[in-house]
């Protein structure tokens, strides 16, 4: 069943759609949640929450592509859980490591920065990613979108962990410059 059929079933309030989503995208969303939370039980709860969110969001929403739509919800649910301290185990420190890595992309805090800048940040991230070569961009997303470990990324792309770190290091440095050039301070 393709995405449009699943969406149509959701609009028709058919619970089969949820089962279809689980079979098609459950593993993907569970992996993202697990990467962030580091705990299978927590990840499973996120995925269950995700199905509930999806059920009540569609309709009225009509996402074009379900994979990024669901991945984004799973990611946010996992982050919410992490921030609220609900997670039983915080990914063996992986998220702390990722947050620390991303600190390197941010300049000193601008007192005028507010959450209202979110759109500008997203636009800046999109324009930064658009300039990158596809292989490097995929490595970057694997780390900072999916929260995958360095070793997992190395295995997935058949490159050494050292090369993964090197690519990420260079890209973080470039991202910092890019964000600064856009006047974005986090």
């Amino acid at each position: 069943m393709d995405d449009s059929e699943i969406i149509a079933q959701l609009w028709a309030r058919s619970e089969d759609a949820i089962a279809e989503v689980g079979g098609k995208y459950g593993g993907y969303c569970r992996t993202i949640a697990f990467n962030i939370l580091g705990n299978a039980e927590d990840a499973e709860e996120v995925v269950n929450d995700l199905y509930s969110r999806l059920w009540w969001a569609v309709p009225p929403a009509r996402p074009e592509k379900l994979k990024p739509y669901l991945g984004r919800i799973a990611r946010n649910l996992a982050l919410d859980r992490l921030e609220k301290g609900k997670a039983k185990k915080r990914g063996e420190g992986r998220m702390e490591a990722i947050f620390t890595e991303l600190e390197q992309c941010t300049a000193d805090k601008d007192p005028y920065a507010t959450l209202a800048e979110s759109k500008a940040i997203t636009d800046a991230l999109n324009s930064f990613l658009d300039k990158q070569k596809i292989d490097q961009r995929r490595v970057f997303l694997r780390r900072y979108w999916r929260a995958a470990s360095i070793k997992e990324i190395a295995l997935d792309f058949d490159i050494s962990p050292a090369k993964v770190k090197s690519i990420l290091f260079r890209m973080r440095r470039q991202l910092r410059k890019h964000l600064e050039s856009e006047g974005i301070y986090l």
């Binding site: 074009e64 947050f99 991303l102 770190k165």
Partner: protein, 269 residues
Amino acid sequence: MSGARLFRAMGEIGDSFILEDSLDDPATITDAGTPRRNRLSFSVSPAKWIVPAAALGLLLAVGIISRSGLIAVFPGDDSTKASSMALKINHVASIEPIQMEMDIGLFWDDAVEYTAEEIEKYYGTTIYPKNLPAGIEQTVIGFNNHDDGGFYLFRRSDGTVYYDQNSFLFLTAADRDFYQASGYVEEDRPAVCVTAAKERAIHDFAADDEENGWQTSLINQKEVMLTCYECESVMHYHAEFVKEGVHFGILGTNLSEEEFINLLVPYFE
């Protein structure tokens, strides 16, 4: 918590990037019951340096700065005073930061690990540089895709060696500590990487020397192919030569020409 905020913001990037990341999604592959890819690949050179090396192999436009007949003698350095040299450093005009790895079908089950001393004994000639630039330490680090700092020979079941290329990395003490902690080296740091192999020629740089019109240099009447190029504002010098049946590729990053030539001279004594 700006890192956390940036990570959260990453969640809102465009769908196209997320879908692109999922092109060969391992989760999807696993769900479909397809075995996960387990093909092993191995860089012909250290990951850090393979970028310019591979680019060189693909270059269409190269220029040459010839230093015909130049006799390089550096004051205060006894090792080079007695050396006769005719250096022709082939300058690569443009470098594309292309990343490439060569899959040569290595299987790590075949790999036998050796110590630094044992591996030099295998090659049967001096591998490690005697004239490292000031600040760079003699401590050798193995540089391979296993990322464990080891030295390996790949042997068939009958014991014969089918792959013996190893790379030996030399760094400053601070960079070595950083490398061991982080797994990578900043690209602008001074470094020396010696690659050696008996079983195959090292042609990271000079594969198309005839076509490119590159010229060989002579150090103590022995041929060496020298190239230099600038990549991300950092100068790199590279030498390829054969000594006692061992193929060498030596790369100096962020060294002066003088330091690099000084490094080479003992290999030709």
